[in-house]
Symmetry: C2
Subunit: 289 residues, 2 copies
Amino acid sequence: MSFPAALLQAANLVQTRLDRALADLRPEPVIHAMRYAVSGGKRLRGFLVLESAAVFGIPASTAISAAAAVEALHAYSLVHDDLPCMDDDDLRRGQPTVHVKWDEATAVLAGDALQTLAFELLTDPALGAAQIRLDLVLGLAKASGAEGMVLGQALDIAAETAPSPLTLDQITDLQAGKTGALIRWSAEAGAVIAGQDPTPLRNYATALGLAFQIADDILDVTGDAEKAGKRLQKDAQAGKATFVSLLGLDAARHRAKSLVDEAESHLAPYGARAQSLIDAARFVIARES
Amino acid sequence: MSFPAALLQAANLVQTRLDRALADLRPEPVIHAMRYAVSGGKRLRGFLVLESAAVFGIPASTAISAAAAVEALHAYSLVHDDLPCMDDDDLRRGQPTVHVKWDEATAVLAGDALQTLAFELLTDPALGAAQIRLDLVLGLAKASGAEGMVLGQALDIAAETAPSPLTLDQITDLQAGKTGALIRWSAEAGAVIAGQDPTPLRNYATALGLAFQIADDILDVTGDAEKAGKRLQKDAQAGKATFVSLLGLDAARHRAKSLVDEAESHLAPYGARAQSLIDAARFVIARES
């Protein structure tokens, strides 16, 4: 299967699982906002969960709640990140952001409940033994909390008012939390569900996560806002240091390509079973959104 | 032990556990804000966890991470509830609220990471077998998400702009989510950890939660803001229906007292082992904060 087809298939499975999780809830605005927030998107994190599971022969029907969980968690982070007091974005995935379409209070609450939903999904017995599900819960908590994604977001906001632009090391540290930690959890999830050593996938994901962020910075400068579905060139306008501002466009592209090669090399132990993960790594630096 | 002494002892145990969970994190504002947000408070929910465990002979050292978890989750809900786009409160537990002391972005992120911390705490092996911890995770997710606390908060916000004040049934429904669900989870937690039937504790907590909210409404009208540590008479000023506005002060007091009697009756199967839970029920309608 081609990578775009595989990504779309994963996206559809994730959407179906999220639709099921959000069915039968009260018809309140906060519930509508939750459904809206989990619609669309590339589903790269969910794809990584399903494909890392497939490496070990674990079917999508077993791993799907973990894929849905990380997408619910990612969606919550986007809703809160778009708030006026945070990045103040009015466009996401080509649509008005949640606080624009509803209001700020609904956006705060919908994000809060999407985080809760992520942890609820990880208790799904389909994922396997209780200890496996607990390992997924603990890993997602570590990846998304005060040592992971939230820390990265806090560092990102602090950078906006810092007296001098961040260094390359500081930006690398920031992104390891902000986007890297969830990507790593996603890629490791398959090994956790299979009860196998997650080290190769962790190394793959660490390189992949950094490549992803560099590609995001490149996209912010060179991309088409319509294709990206969000406003671009915000970082440059804000005078924020990025991989592109620090390395230059050519060196940033070269670095991203090297990281993708490195990510691919970590998958060698899995042979052909990891082809779709290799495809995913190549995709993150070629994407237009 | 007297009830105030028992409550203080539980509060100290909870604080120590939360301090440990928040130790060794990076010295960023968001981490300071998390520590600030989990300081102080009555710790009634944590007390209910520890005392419901004690009914079954489970020591505090076993149950403490569940008590700390519900207090972290409660603290997150207060931080977000105090935001300008929500209740817009500048005072909490006698101190400036998080967004006043830091800023709104830090308050959003600190609340987010406190929710994450709650689920992380429930993976603590000290709580028992993996299945028990998963049951606690699922129960807390159900109690705090789109079918529980967040739903209650959303209904509360919607009530502010509703064309007509809520009815008694609607307010009872709202509070069952907003404050009742976490109180019920807390009281049931001891039975879950002990692997025992939580039904009597659930019935106790359902009555207790409603008594708690009625007492809160009474306190909002008759209380001393200094003792309460927060602004009072906000509901009356906003023209919101409360148990007091709908029932009148005397009938509200009578109803709260009946609920406390009912809560107490559900504890009969446990005999003297439930004395501190009975004391807690009497406390919720006598408290000044």
